[in-house]
Point group: C2
Chain length 242, copies 2
């Protein structure tokens, strides 16, 4: 903090959100189509400015989450990715953006009549292979968010946030496979998640869908960190399990 009485320059503060969900076993991120310049017609992460100078930054993220994706705070993870403050990142002026990552269980298509009317879920692979380009520095924020989620899956119980109240181990595995972008051995996965104490707890019931033996149902445990961790493979093996 400066000790003299010179007045520092004010800056506009915004929040941007990287909201991930899982739909049809594919990792998807929420994007909005910009209606005005700059970047009119381009895709961007949802976000917005602080509502007033008393609003907490995290609270602003929650408010935008509600406005843009109609998601309230229950069953939700919200984590700060960091601040993005390059002077030229917004051609309209000096804007510093604090980015947050949100994880949500499978969501329906955004509904008309809300702020999220022009928002759509976009498959993460479409962004990774360049088929969808993002405005501002949002590609960088998106990339940071994806890497954050991928690495957090290893040592935290984050994956259960993608699931509904109860879920099968196979559903949980599909979360890991979708976020990490690779295939896992279902039998080893089965034991690993159960060995992590407090990660998931059996709920007693079973679920039957189509053929095959019914799967036991689980719910998220109370621990937020899992031990031992589920470490993702370094770099090999795609698809083709068993």
């Amino acid at each position: 903090m400066s000790d003299d009485d010179w007045i520092p320059p004010p800056v506009l503060v915004a929040v941007d959100l990287v909201i991930f969900t899982l739909r049809d076993s594919v990792l998807q991120v929420l994007l909005v189509e910009r209606g005005i310049e700059p970047f009119r017609g381009a895709w961007a992460l949802p976000g917005g400015f602080l509502a007033d100078d008393r609003e907490d930054v995290l609270a602003a993220a929650h408010r935008e989450l509600k406005e843009e994706a109609d998601l309230d705070a229950s069953r939700l993870h919200l984590e700060q990715l960091g601040a993005y403050g390059k002077p030229d990142r917004d051609p309209r002026g000096r804007v510093l953006s604090v980015a947050y990552l949100a994880i949500a269980p499978g969501l329906p298509e955004p509904r008309a009549g809300t702020d999220a009317a022009h928002a759509t879920w976009t498959p993460v692979p479409d962004i990774l292979d360049g088929r969808v380009r993002l405005a501002f520095d949002h590609h960088e924020i998106f990339g940071d968010g994806l890497e954050w989620a991928r690495s957090k899956l290893e040592r935290s119980a984050l994956a259960t946030a993608f699931c509904r109240e109860t879920f099968t181990i196979n559903e949980l595995q599909q979360v890991y496979e979708a976020v990490w972008g690779l295939g896992l051995d279902s039998r080893n996965f089965y034991r690993k998640v159960q060995a992590a104490e407090g990660f998931i707890v059996p709920v007693g019931a079973e679920r039957r869908e189509g053929r095959g033996r019914p799967a036991r149902l689980f719910k998220a445990g109370d621990r937020t960190t899992i031990n031992p961790p589920l470490v993702r493979p370094a770099a090999e093996a795609r698809e083709g399990k068993s």
Copy 2:
């Protein structure tokens, strides 16, 4: 980004720095004593506001680093910890601070005549056990910085940033021990750091100081991530190595 033409509230943006160094094999952090209210006489992290509305946030961190610790950008790591933006974190008004972590090799006592004249290196243990209290939310920032450094030591070549141009493996081990706050087996450490390809490269020379066999000298390699990682023990063992 908001699509209407309402004017969002401006916020003052500051940077705060968690600057770690190693002195006498003890991890130390740079603190300044506040000369004005609020928190007059208390200890705080060095930092300051953006110089003008064109200054990059990272550039401001570099500038403060130069002003407060007389450190230029060479042989230096600077990483963003995140944004701290609670509305009441600064009693003077709305200030959002972007925190950075800096790592520096052993530094002399800050010199008089610079902005850092009233700054001092403070042992990290003194803060951890509550003997030194910090102003604002700086204890939280400090804690985040310490945990960041501890975990980054596992998979990145960060530790070499604490060392001088050339160093012995024992000096590198002292970095790990000081940051992690525990003792390591020197013989296993010796092999582990050399097994990590591109982490350190031998420089051919040796160093002799006092009795004992001379140690080979190394310099930092070109890789920034190390593989396999040096994982810190979960929770046991203090001091007493070998």
